[in-house]
Symmetry: C2
Subunit: 404 residues, 2 copies
């Protein structure tokens, strides 16, 4: 019997729902946030600190791990969970995102509709077979095919794994988006064939919906994914040029996807984005945001604690120098229990890595707490009210309320 | 009534002893190791992690704190303990060591008998009044006098504070060592006068024995310190060109010092050094060593776990790549409970700061555990046996024993 199961417990407004995702390493209450332990580590947090922050599930990136320490060494270490000391549920991606994004230099931004400076290209060739790229660790050439991605993910040993797809950039035209989508479908089928050939019940495979911003392509891709026996679905590909377009693309896609499967939104994790994603029926989110901003002094706060048009406070700001309050006075996390904004500001000024640990502790707790609040709001039939309280549009009202 | 007291509980061999050092922030069981939170932080460890490692007492450096955040801002934050979240016993040094060592570029090494490359000089002038130096933070000039050092330490608010002295380098001749010592005595008296003028019972002052490697000067300096009403004594100044000379200087000094006071050995914290220091009657030690080597991949291990002529393993070494054992298989610390040498090796290779956290967690636990083992050995009248088991001279025998 499989240890995997996805149970929908209760429906909320629109497509929102709460559920339970069972894996051999534990249960994930959904909607859930998946933290990015990119290189098999949360950089400045220990696994105990992640647990203390009520973390349910983390992911690691196949691309980095296949280069270092390498899939075979990871297998010798007993797989990701044993290696990292995180014995809870895990997900790995296919490796494709980093190959295309680091290789072409701009995909990460382009998927979100931004253009930016080019980075060094490591992607050497992409064809029907797969992607040839050069290791940033030692310059060796690697060929990542759909089969190889699954083999590597099998050795890494996460519970949830993902088919290889091409991360289609935003700036390409519809015809490229379509042919890229069709190739991703062929890769998805090859990924599944490889997966089935060695399926021992310890992992489950997610398919990915492509199609960019085009409704007819999204429909075609959703049909493909629905027709194949993936355990879960992921919404991938270009999500548009701005937030509203992303919400529209996700809403359209979610309306035509098989709703019995757990559904993941790839690489999205802002507060506002999650509020919308949940409403559109997304069950899990992942993003480097909470830990990445921590390394720049950014501490996530509730809308009514914000001091500008951002979802976080910038603790590098001089005004926090003598601030003796914790990041959030009503937050019970380890960082807010023991340290002031002024102390963290000082640590940032003196470039002390403890600053990143403390902010990341808070941000991890914040995200898990936020997702729990979402689940509770759905279960108590008041998600729309919760949405209104947390949505950025209401920040000003909220502050006024507090003053009164 | 003062919250301060030093009780000697039991005498061991030679001058060794176990005691209890009472402070307003808690009791320190001695012999004890004092950890260096140089800039009011343990760099890669949280206060909770320090507590979990059974830490009793930490110190911070007046020199760095008077420049950033500054004594007045620290006072506004409620003092070091409130600022750092460490509510246990604390010590601050006088600021002198860094001024002379960073200023002249070499004192830290020279006190231990080594010459090294010059650094940028920030010490502008030293005369009877004090030391004029330039801030490395903003280039401002500061005058550190004995009175100023005490005033700053009062604002920082540690339990135990220290008189300002000149850190006499090793390479100077006896006549310079003597005149420097005499000036340090005058500075010590001025430090004490300033201390007494505002003594509110919340802090206690340590005197420092100078005199370099010269027995007659050490005698003269010990007489000075004994004759003044310091709460505690510290052994300072140049301790010689090598370990044997250091052990001789410390042994000689400890024989002539007032033995009713808690006595601190400044800046020394190697395993072998502590074994000797305890025998010579030292009650507290401090050193950046356990946390500094952590940032270079060095994990402290018991003599019979060592693999070369060092007190630590270098986890950067390629041979740990596939090692699935923890740093020490018999260690119950948080790092050894959850992570393998191979994982930490990988984190070091990928320059992930979690590596430093994990090794520092182990090293902090290791030092506290080592000091506790010392106290237990003394209390059970078997310190000489413990000394023999832990002293480097016995490493080879120990390994042979294990093979048999």
């Amino acid at each position: 019997m499989s240890h995997f199961q996805f149970k929908i417990l209760q429906a909320g407004p629109q497509q929102a729902r709460i559920g339970k995702l069972f894996t051999p390493h534990g249960v994930v209450d959904t909607p859930a946030f998946i933290f990015c332990a990119t290189r098999a580590a949360m950089k400045s947090l220990t696994i105990e600190q992640m647990r203390a922050a009520n973390t349910q599930i983390i992911l690691s990136n196949t691309y980095h791990l296949m280069l270092q320490p390498g899939a075979d060494d990871m297998q010798r270490h007993g797989g990701l969970q044993k290696f990292t000391g995180w014995h809870g549920p895990m997900l790995t991606d296919s490796g494709g995102f980093q190959i295309f994004s680091l290789g072409q230099g701009t995909v990460a931004d382009e998927i979100k509709g931004r253009r930016s400076l080019k980075q060094a290209k490591t992607l050497l060739k992409i064809n029907e077979n797969g992607a040839l790229f050069k290791s940033y660790v030692d310059g060796r050439e690697y060929l990542l095919t759909p089969e190889e991605s699954i083999k590597v993910q099998r050795k890494l040993g996460a519970d949830l794994i993902v088919v290889l797809d091409e991360c289609t950039p935003f700036h390409v035209d519809k015809s490229y988006t379509e042919s890229s989508m069709l190739r991703s479908h062929r890769w998805a089928k090859r990924s599944m064939d490889e997966f089935m050939s060695h399926d021992d019940g310890k992992q489950k495979l997610y398919g990915i919906v492509q199609g960019g911003i085009y409704d007819d392509l999204r429909q075609q891709s959703a049909d493909f994914v629905n027709q194949h026996d993936f355990f879960g679905n992921a919404v991938g590909g270009s999500l548009g040029a701005n937030k509203q377009q992303m919400y529209d693309v996700v809403a359209y896609t979610m309306n035509i996807l098989d709703r019995t499967r757990p559904t993941h939104l790839l690489g999205i994790g802002g507060i506002e984005d999650i509020l919308h994603g949940v409403l559109q029926g997304i069950d899990t989110f992942d993003c480097v945001h909470p830990t990445r901003i921590a390394r720049h002094g950014g501490a996530l706060v509730k809308p009514w604690h914000r001091d500008q048009d951002r979802e976080h406070l910038n603790l590098r700001n001089h005004k926090y120098k003598l601030d003796q309050d914790p990041i959030e006075p009503d937050c019970p996390c380890a960082a807010c229990n023991n340290y002031s904004r002024g102390y963290i500001h000082y640590l940032l000024k003196t470039e002390t890595s403890l600053a990143f640990t403390l902010i990341a502790q808070h941000n991890a707790f914040f995200m898990n707490d936020f997702m729990q609040k979402i689940r509770v709001a759905i279960s108590e039939n008041r998600y729309m009210q919760f949405f209104a309280e947390w949505s950025t549009a209401n920040v000003v009202d909220k502050i006024s309320d507090q003053v009164i």
